[in-house]
């Protein structure tokens, strides 16, 4: 068994820690850093509730070890606002009622941010496909799509 010293930039701030190699990134985020906006919804790498941006790309943090993030960058839902102002995706989920219980929502938003970075003007089909790694049991996805469309519009300026 080994522990490793890691430096991870999380939401812009460098975090240092001594971690077991088996520590999952999602557990590092939630338990070591107390950033509990990232959720754990399954045990099978299926649900996407744990989605964060890892070196700019949305990934399932339950299926990455914290040690893999050494020297890297992670953005969680807590890192979305800028200077206290909501990110357009957060505004979209608010305005378009894109959530009910909210459990999938942080993951959905981070995935959407990743999607919009790649494709700033997605069609509905591209949004649905782009978010297909994130499951929602409440909403039926309709308002989630609208929230992403709202954000895309807002981000186009």
């Amino acid at each position: 068994m080994s522990t490793h010293h890691i430096n991870v930039t999380v939401n812009g701030a460098v975090k240092e820690a001594e971690v077991e190699s088996r520590l999952l990134l999602v557990h590092f985020i939630r338990e070591d850093l107390n950033l509990t906006g990232t959720h754990i919804g399954c045990d099978t790498t299926s649900c996407g509730a744990c989605t964060v941006l890892f070196n700019g790309k949305p990934v399932k943090s339950c299926t990455v070890f914290a040690v893999q993030a050494d020297g890297g960058e992670v953005t969680t839902v807590e890192g979305l606002p800028t200077n206290g102002k909501l990110h357009p995706i957060q505004e979209g989920f608010t305005e378009m009622h894109g959530l009910q219980c909210g459990f999938c929502t942080p993951g959905m938003m981070l995935s959407a941010v990743g999607l919009l970075q790649q494709n700033p003007d997605p069609t509905e089909e591209e949004i649905r496909w782009g978010l297909s790694g994130n499951l929602c049991r409440c909403t039926g996805y309709v308002n989630i799509v609208k929230a992403v469309q709202y954000a895309a519009e807002k981000m186009k300026g």
Partner: protein, 288 residues
């Protein structure tokens, strides 16, 4: 949920990685990790050492060179999916990359891992069989090239030595009048295939099929090359009757097991239908 403890190494060079594997017979390579880590979380796999190859330079690329499409083994599925070159000239590969798991998994998952892990349910193996691909591996014995038809030995078993790492996948460079398609049925997005068929064809100057490759996913202990179906196409015009005959032969080549995704009969029938669709699409693409 929580994997058993393990040692973790991040080699800086391929040779260092090979050496670590050689010194630790139970060690596993960590690339994308999206097959291995879920197994470790279920404690179905307990490697005492993970050799993280994600920091190795020069193993992620997509380029045509010397009559081959060469893909670095560390190339992420998302990069295959996003490649204009692949979408335009290697549609079978584009189709395949796109159906693997979901977009989040594809940001981490690698082509090399999909092949080396050799889960019979993985998608790239059948596609590589249909393409007649080769893989390149480096181990303590040096570098060797392995035709994909010789690569898979059984579920989760390949011919790779314990200390060999896949470095490159090679697909014959696209010819004009060739096309391919991958048709996969899954219960829902992100699932493994109930069954899937990869088809790659080349039409000759006479309008008849000059070459054909058909690979089957998740209907056997390894990916299956439907050789009799391929032979039934060669030298013939790809009319409906010929396609259907090949599809019947492909369904007979399948060795499905009944499980939660479907019965043996259902999967066999599914292979037949998917083969028809894949061949029709491959033909359409070959002509355009």
């Amino acid at each position: 949920m929580i994997p058993p403890a393990f040692d973790y190494a991040v080699p800086k060079t391929l040779n260092d990685a090979v050496a670590l594997l050689g010194q630790n017979p139970e060690a596993k390579v960590l690339a994308g990790g999206h097959s291995l880590i879920p197994m470790m979380k279920f404690r179905l796999a307990s490697p005492p050492l993970l050799v993280d190859i994600n920091r190795l330079e020069g193993l992620a690329y997509i380029r045509e060179e010397d009559g081959w499409l060469k893909i670095g083994a560390l190339t992420r599925e998302a990069d295959l999916d996003g490649s204009d070159l692949i979408r335009q000239k290697y549609p079978l590969l584009a189709d395949t990359a796109r159906t693997i798991a979901d977009p989040l998994v594809r940001n981490m998952a690698t082509v090399g891992g999909n092949l080396a892990h050799a889960d019979p349910a993985n998608d790239h193996p059948a596609t590589m069989l249909a393409y007649g691909a080769q893989v390149v591996a480096t181990g303590s014995g040096g570098e060797r090239t392995i035709p994909i038809g010789q690569f898979f030995e059984g579920p989760f078993q390949t011919v790779l030595a314990h200390d060999e790492i896949l470095t490159e996948i090679r697909i014959p460079a696209a010819k004009s009048n060739s096309g391919g398609a991958y048709f996969k049925l899954e219960r829902k997005v992100g699932d493994f295939a109930t069954a899937a068929v990869a088809a790659q064809i080349t039409i000759g100057a006479t309008g008849k099929c000059e070459d054909a490759g058909i690979g089957l996913t998740n209907v056997g202990l390894t990916p299956i090359k439907a050789t009799k179906a391929e032979e039934a196409l060669k030298g013939k015009p790809l009319d409906d009757a010929t396609i259907r005959q090949a599809a019947q032969l492909a369904s007979e080549a399948a060795e499905p097991v009944g499980d939660q995704r479907g019965s043996e009969d259902y999967k066999r029938a599914l292979v037949k239908t998917l083969t028809v669709r894949a061949l029709r699409k491959a033909l359409e693409r070959a002509k355009s």
